[in-house]
Amino acid sequence: MIERHDSLVVVTFVRVLIPLVQLFALYVLAYGHYGPGGGFQAGVILGASYILMALALGREPFERRVNERACLTIAGAGVLLYLATGIAGFAGGTLLDYSRLPLPVSPVKARYFGILIIETGVAAAVAATLVVLFCRLADTEHHPDA
């Protein structure tokens, strides 16, 4: 696994950077309706913030926050959130028709929020998948062939 970076400058800078990167990921997710961005990009940025944590701060603070099995659960939950949103408006309609979602808003606004909900699911699935793949690739101590 990767060690903590030797340079105090790098470690301090990354400590400041990580929350900003995560905030930016949320912005990209929420602003996808109005500008470039959306669930996929937000998920990649969020996943990258955790990868950056492992690369610069070492395995200890990373493993305190990240659990591989929890990540897999989050990734699966993201897919299920998408599917559940698609099924929620299914009765009497078509699959993935967000205008029939049981929300206290107009059908047009229901589609607007439906998009936001499924993009959140996509972001969770993408971020958690990236972190899991990075964990497994970087963990050379538990090499299956070792």
Binding site: Y34, P36, V44, R111, G121, P144
Partner: protein, 175 residues
């Protein structure tokens, strides 16, 4: 963007691709591939595909570079070239596919042609109706997440399956 600058970006893309393929040290190849992704992202921006450019920048230039580097931790930095005979097979296959692609490029509609088939079928409806139907000004988002929601749902399943597959293949022994 000006035409010469666009041509320079395309030339840089080809040079970076050749460097990435020719590099003996895979660490060099991975970093050059990251630069390739970044130039590609600039090209997408130039032709107005900002959503694609964003994805290319975060995935092509960003995360895939890190994942490739992490993969190098588990293997060797040295490139192992294909054995003699296979090299000629590979060269033949690449030349044939490249020639085919070049041959059909002429059949594509000119870039930005508003009368081309893809631009006259359903695209105008998405662009004119996205505000009235989904209250989402960014038509890319409404097409991706609403009009073409099936595609995105299955893409998300693919990403999850990739994560699960990678985790199972590289699983720790004690798990």
């Amino acid at each position: 963007m000006s035409e010469p600058l666009f041509a320079a970006l395309l030339a840089l893309l080809v040079i970076l691709a050749i460097v990435a393929i020719r590099a003996g040290d895979l660490l060099v190849a991975v970093i050059v591939l990251g630069a390739y992704g970044f130039v590609m992202s600039l090209i997408w921006t130039t032709i107005g595909a900002v959503d694609v450019a964003f994805t290319e920048a975060v995935v092509g230039a960003g995360v895939s570079t890190v994942l490739f580097l992490a993969a190098l931790l588990r293997t060797s930095r040295r490139r192992s070239p294909l054995p003699g005979k296979l090299r000629w097979v590979a060269l033949g296959a690449v030349t044939a596919v490249g020639a085919l692609l070049l041959a059909v490029t002429g059949a594509l509609p000119p870039w930005g042609d508003a009368t081309a088939a893809p631009a006259t079928h359903v695209s105008p409806r998405y662009i004119t109706e996205t505000m009235a139907e989904t209250a989402t000004p960014n038509a890319v988002t409404s097409v991706l997440a609403d009009y073409r929601a099936y595609d995105t749902l299955i893409e998300t399943v693919v990403i999850f399956s990739a994560g699960l597959g990678g985790w199972l293949l590289l699983a720790r022994r004690d798990q």
